[in-house]
Symmetry: C3
Subunit: 217 residues, 3 copies
């Protein structure tokens, strides 16, 4: 590996670690806030935050029969989550929820792109067909939120709020597949896919895009 | 294998493919209609239709630790599902729901029988005890609908509408076990089980059979 | 193995079988009563009782990729469950629910401790990190009830009733980890953990302990 490429990869992987951490915290906070809104107790808050943060990747790994899970290999993250929940319970008030949610939209969009891209990559590495790999990317990015909503006894927001979320992951994920088919380096596909999915989500938020609705008559 | 038996098996497996396809579409449509009734968006409609169609077999395979899943080995079905959902969103109206549901009862009953029988067979092949194999047959036939209802935030209809559904699968599935114990050929057990479960379901629908209810006092 | 230790282990394992059976029945009855309250049909009652009884251990085994499941290795328990449900449907009335629930609190507390301890032990045996092992202990003890509540379309009681339940399992489970780290015999860790978790739960019930709530302002 040339030293230029090496430094590139290192920078990339450093950036990825930071983005992943920010996105995981954003996912966890979405669970924490929903749990608090539903008046769950301290245990429920931790569980729902954990499901939102790690549920998508875990479900993907169960389906692909991959072990160890992320939170087994990096068990320190479970402590981070626990501390995050305890700190939030001490310092966060209901009136902070809306502001936090609005602030979290941006790292959440980053996480959507990043996890969709990496989930697709992992599934391709496990020799899945293209459509299945893309589906696994979506599962990674979206199913944490789906499990969060199911435990909180709500219809999953990703399926019912008529805003493009899973669709951005779906579209971006295809770039990973295309990069692999064209023989391009993995990191290029990952960056293109994560960037595209994130950009689509940001545009959807800024421009108020809506998914096609079922016609009413 | 004698040519008579061979032709028999071929015909059987052709018929099975057609029935399986019809049943899978019936399962998918049940998800699609429930998602539309709940005003889910386009993504939710596809996901719930997919869960209803493939959720039961996938859950069985996760429990039996079997891979690849049906929808990985036959990834084309995911495209069929996607097209089905898109077409339905263009052409289906609310006023078509009830009629479609009523029309789908019959392929759904076929699917109930067929998936219960094949699920039981697969579990027996994985050396499961008889009662576990029968349970896996029920999971295959019924759990797609259960997951559909959980995501749509409803108590699963299979557990609450007091009409025999899982019970038909349960009773039929035992014929697969009996055929295996008696050393009869597999296809005979499959046909007998699928036929019995389907027949029981059709009779339950036509004659309005009810499951025993919990006594109220 | 000295004969003294042998007899100790035998007695211990006899006691464990009896406690496990009582706890499993207590878990199943909690499912049965919730299903009956929700007016589920006979099939739903059996399924929810089964989920409550075996769901936690099964989810743990899926996450740890362990096979066979308890209810595959001891398939007779599925028959016990079926008979229990049928008998309950014949003899139990709504007016018995509250009394049964109150009586079941004690074997349920035993089950909480025992399953938390054994789940943690099993995860440590699969080389999981300490925090993951403790989490698996909690999953074993608590997730049967969580699945029961999700299928019945309720927010899981373990996350929302503000009484220490999962927390008792969490605290007790650490004693298994400590015993392992200190090189103490397995049975000592198991007994200490199960006893502590059960005792905490009993005290929580008797003294009306509450989990810290989210502050309202």
């Amino acid at each position: 590996m040339s030293s230029l490429l090496l430094s590139q990869v290192l920078t990339l992987s450093h950036a990825q670690v930071v983005i992943e951490a920010a996105a995981t915290v954003a996912f966890a906070l979405s669970g924490l806030i929903e749990a608090a809104r539903k008046r769950l107790d301290a245990v429920g808050v931790c569980v729902v935050a954990g499901l939102a943060a790690f549920g998508g990747g875990t479900l993907r790994d169960v389906l692909l029969d991959r072990r160890p899970f992320f939170w087994v290999q990096h068990a320190g993250w479970l402590w981070v989550l626990l501390v995050l929940c305890v700190v939030a319970m001490f310092f966060m008030r209901s009136r902070h929820f809306t502001l936090t949610e609005r602030a979290m939209q941006w790292p959440d969009a980053l996480g959507l792109g990043l996890f969709a891209a990496s989930g697709t990559q992992i599934a391709l590495g496990a020799s899945m067909p293209a459509i299945v790999a893309v589906l696994m990317g979506m599962v990674t990015a979206v199913c944490g939120g789906v499990l969060r909503d199911i435990v909180c006894n709500e219809i999953p927001r990703a399926f019912s709020d008529h805003r493009p979320y899973a669709l951005c992951a779906f579209l971006g994920a295809w770039l990973v597949v295309m990069a692999e088919r064209l023989g391009l380096p993995d990191w290029l596909g990952l960056v293109a896919a994560a960037g595209t999915a994130t950009l689509l989500r940001v545009l959807a938020l800024l421009l108020g895009w809506r998914l096609p609705a079922w016609r009413a008559d």
